[in-house]
Amino acid sequence: MTDAPDHRPTMAALPFADRLARAMPVLLVPILLVVGFLAIGNPSSWLTLTVSGLAMGMMIFIMASGLTLVFGLMDVINFGHGAFISVGAFVGISVVLGLAEWAQAPSLLLNLGVVLLAVLAAMAVTGLLGWAFERVIVKPVYGAHLKQILVTVGGLIVIEQLIHVIWGPDEIFFARPEMLKGAVTFWGAALEKYRLVAVVIGLVLFVAMRLVFRRTRIGLIVRAGVENGEMVEALGYRLRLVFVGVFIAGSALAGLGGVMWGLYEEVITAGMGEEMMILVFIVVIIGGLGSVEGAFIGALMVGLLQNYIAFLEPKLALISNIGLMTAILMWRPQGMMPVVKAK
């Protein structure tokens, strides 16, 4: 290992192929959009499917972001994350049902007010639950993956069963707030209003997260902590507190994702979080464990691919995600944007 005395950064010397390899994950989503367009052939169908794929992807991303960060920071894998999705959905939808008058009124302001209240309630409850979950379930098993998986699965079972105890054993059907029903027509394509809203919320959240990570000290601490937590502590930051904060925020985001998913499906079940976790895990794996950007790209790909395939070859849609995961892992065994671990 010898170092050249000149101080040129190595990046400028990167050949084109290497730079392309670095940028590849970012390019995959536009590539998928174009391939989808060519395969589908009909612009209005393509637009409809794309919006619904993006909406789905955004919701999955919201659920996945907390999970991947929690792993990146403390090497903790939380199989109980899905419980926050379910709890968020039940709390949020209870608010929507409780304020039925507002939800059914043909007023955008009242409708959005209901949704906002539902989201706030869901995030508050799941954030608190996340805090308790971290203290009671996760904290005693730091550093032991096997036990982590076991106890967090146990936590998932218990919380799911408690949902049954509180809200009863059956699924709950409900209607979306009045102004979020129906679709708008755009270039001959019918775009569901709610999906557009979901895309916007997802984008805003992603941009906000990026800003936090790039522009704030806490964001820097989290990014640095994912790479080398020991060094962050040696500089004088209490990583443990940061981790608890991230765990709470991630749980609250899962709750938000749960409300959004519930409003999307117009039915909620205690097992919905567990079902969503499968997509969440796929997204986190193909994105690269610990990488928020990777999870974002992975989520969009999963959403888009599932919708395109469902249109082109419905039978294949069931296994399209597994196929995607297999392909990505063959290409990059650590996922698209693996986090550099200093240890």
Binding site: A224, A234, L235, V340
Partner: protein
């Protein structure tokens, strides 16, 4: 050596089931450079990691600046004024040089005077201020680690092999920077394999073997006595590359 900045008394450290430190007694005087020397694998890195708190001491006490910090957590040791530069440098390669420095300035934004002093010591850091630290060369990364240590007023620096694998030109830059750190009034505990550097920088020296301190004294005394060096450290020390 009255009132040292750091005193270790009978420190034992285990890593998993391995017993690495067997009762280390060490004093680090104020405003001086103390070299921690010895063969590979005798516990130098473990000693530094125990002082910063990455590995807990199973027995013994660590007194820093008059206070017992044996049970104190790493972040609080750092906040009390201990700076640590690990052997693997601990650079956040995903962050830019600027972001690395921002994080290093724990108590607030990096002061402009400090930043200018760092730029003067390490000109390349100014050039690559906004580049990801992972794209720097090995020597530049090592400059960043020292620069990071200088971003904050620390009373004691623990520095692990800062010249490892560096080209001679950069080794001298590094030595100059460490000297500047000392003139700023800091105390330094430095692990170094390059004996020429150790000789040039060190005021005091402590030699380890098999998890214990086996010799302490003035660096000049050790440097002058080839037989002593040979007995304490064998062939692993190099006479300066």
């Amino acid at each position: 050596m009255s009132d040292p900045i750091l005193r270790l008394q009978g420190v034992h450290t285990d890593i998993a089931q391995y017993h690495i430190l067997h009762g280390v007694d060490l004093e680090v005087p104020r405003a001086a450079v103390t070299m921690l020397l010895g063969r590979n694998g005798v516990g130098k890195t473990t000693t530094l990691r125990t002082i910063i708190g990455h590995w807990p001491a199973r027995a013994g006490t660590i007194i820093y600046d008059g206070a017992d910090i044996t049970g104190v957590k790493t972040p609080d040791r750092a906040r009390a004024g201990i700076g640590y530069v690990p052997e693997d440098m601990g650079i956040f390669s995903d962050l830019t040089v600027e972001e690395n420095m921002t994080l290093a300035a724990v108590s607030g934004p990096l002061e402009p005077t400090r930043r200018d002093r760092i730029f003067a010591a390490f000109p390349p850091l100014r050039t690559f201020w906004t580049s990801p630290a992972g794209t720097l060369s090995g020597g530049q990364k090592q400059m960043l680690t020292i620069a990071r240590a200088m971003a904050e007023e620390r009373k004691l620096y623990l520095i692990d092999e800062p010249t490892k694998g560096l080209a001679p030109a950069i080794v001298s830059t590094m030595a100059a920077a460490l000297r500047e750190l000392k003139t700023m009034g800091a105390s330094i505990l430095l692990v170094e394999q390059n004996f020429a550097v150790a000789k040039a920088l060190g005021d005091h020296a402590a030699v380890m073997d098999d998890g214990r301190i086996v010799w302490t004294g003035e660096m000049a005394e050790l440097a002058a006595d080839a037989a002593l060096q040979d007995r304490l450290m064998g062939l692993s020390m190099e006479g300066g590359r």
